[in-house]
């Protein structure tokens, strides 16, 4: 099975106008078994986006190793960025078709558009969409490549609560239809508990793993706010380190 094995022993930035290097990530290790939904939770600015960029292969200037998939097998990554990053000069549908490189799967796109309730907007240009709709398109785009690993960088930030909850539910629907490994970055603990199999707590820069906690709540009752709130309280009480972080 495809396992994701992340080791970043150090990642440094040369800060603009300064001669001292900023150490962003140090001794970071994480192993994700296939089809696990992992949430990375940490204070903003701790280096979560940097980590995702390293995993996606966008940033190669680091010390460490990213092992993904079985050697030789093709491994597809879907990336949902903090901003939707749609091409404004292409329609919703063309934006999704764009990433389907070798195979064109119109049926899959139809299905995804249907689940995300965007079928009637598929020929609209992104500038005419609301932010929530754009984020849903970005989500569809990531799913359209049938990813083995889905990277998500605070994809629901700056959405109002009901919209965020709706898109979150749709994400879970899609994920349960076609399970794959997910690495989801957030600083919202409630959101993380609602989504994840496992929570990974991160320290401020230089980023390290502070704690890894499996969420014991059954998937069927994840939409129960009270259960999530109780678990959150218990977490904060049990781990003063985490409380200090967030």
């Amino acid at each position: 099975m495809s396992l994701v094995n992340i080791t970043v022993s150090s990642k440094r930035f040369l800060a603009v106008g300064q001669s001292i290097e900023h150490l962003a990530i140090a001794d970071f290790k994480l192993i994700i078994p296939s089809n696990e939904f992992v949430c990375l939770v940490g204070p903003s600015g701790c280096g979560k986006t940097t980590l995702l960029n390293i995993i996606a292969g966008l940033d190669q200037d680091f010390v460490g190793e990213i092992g993904v998939g079985l050697s030789g097998a093709s491994f597809k990554i879907g990336y949902v960025f903090q901003n939707p990053r749609l091409l404004p000069w292409r329609t919703v549908r063309q934006n999704i078709e764009l990433v389907q490189e070798r195979f064109q799967n119109a049926y899959l796109i139809d299905q995804l558009l249907d689940v995300m309730q965007l079928t009637q907007f598929q020929h609209a240009y992104p500038e005419r969409l609301s932010l929530g709709m754009s984020r849903r398109v970005a989500l569809i785009r990531a799913f359209a490549v049938n990813p083995d690993l889905l990277l998500m960088d605070e994809p629901f930030v700056s959405l109002d609560a009901p919209t965020a909850r709706q898109v979150r539910d749709l994400l879970l629907v899609l994920w349960q239809k076609r399970p794959h490994t997910v690495l989801f970055v957030t600083h919202d603990l409630r959101e993380a508990i609602a989504l994840a199999d496992r929570l990974v707590f991160l320290s401020a820069a230089p980023m390290r793993v502070v704690a890894e906690i499996t969420v014991p709540i059954d998937r069927a009752v994840r939409n129960n706010e009270q259960a999530i709130e109780e678990f959150r309280q218990q977490l904060l009480d049990d781990y003063p380190d985490i409380k200090r972080l967030l």
């Binding site: 292969g57 960025f81 091409l87 000069w89 292409r90 500038e127 490549v145």
Partner: protein
């Protein structure tokens, strides 16, 4: 409204012509007559056609080369730092100097004429396209890389639409610039084309013909703008709100 303003311009011209009553300032009616005669004899279409042909060839070469070099410089900082001074030099060489040098070095031939125009226009295109390349949206480039899009797709779907306004800008300023240079090129070393004709009329003090050719000139440029450039703009910008 535009018709009215043009009408006022023609009226002012007519009034001034009557007031001055000079051979060197003919009235609109005479210019129209000369224009018509030149069209019927085929002189004007022939010379205008030659100039347009030179324009098309030199413009295409300058745009293609300029886009390629501009993108390369915009993407590569080291290359850019190295060639930046060259650009400044070429930008500031007077058009007349390149024309004279081209004719001196390569003779009074068609290729020398085309080369002179291209050399004059090229630095301009390069600078504009380089600015456009520098302004490319890094977020979209990262998106393309993370989804492993092919080079062809990145160029056609992501880079080209962003460069389009810059290319259009270079096209407009380029046409205006090349028109002017091409006339000098023809005046100095060609035996046909608008520049050659204007030179002839100048020697005969035939102002009516000069004005007739000028109007034909302005008309063609307007047609290019309305029939070619505007529709291109609209097609490319239809996604905007």
């Amino acid at each position: 409204m535009p018709i009215l303003s043009l009408l006022v311009l023609i009226l002012a011209w007519q009034g001034l012509a009557i007031y001055l009553n000079s051979m060197t300032f003919p009235e609109p009616g005479l210019v129209a007559k000369v224009f018509w005669r030149a069209c019927v004899t085929g002189d004007l279409p022939y010379h205008l056609g030659m100039t347009l042909l030179r324009l098309m060839v030199s413009f295409s070469i300058a745009m293609l080369l300029g886009c390629a070099i501009g993108i390369a410089l915009g993407c590569n900082k080291k290359l850019d730092a190295f060639f930046d001074n060259w650009l400044v030099v070429f930008l500031n060489v007077p058009a007349l100097v390149t024309i004279i040098l081209c004719y001196v070095w390569f003779g009074l031939v068609e290729s020398a004429a085309i080369l002179a125009v291209v050399v004059n226009k090229l630095p301009n295109v390069i600078v504009t396209i380089r600015e456009g390349t520098r302004a490319l949206d890094q977020d979209l480039m990262d998106m393309a890389r993370s989804y492993r899009l092919s080079k062809r797709k990145v160029l056609l779907e992501i880079i080209w639409p962003q460069l389009h306004p810059f290319v259009m800008g270079a096209t407009r300023s380029g046409l205006a610039l090349i028109w002017k240079i091409i006339l000098v090129v023809e005046l100095l070393g060609r035996s046909n084309g608008m520049g050659y004709q204007l030179h002839l009329f100048f020697q005969m003090f035939d102002v009516a013909s000069i004005l007739a050719y000028t109007l034909a000139f302005v008309g063609v440029i307007q047609l290019i703008e309305i029939l070619l450039l505007k529709p291109l703009d609209q097609r490319a910008l239809r996604w905007r709100k």
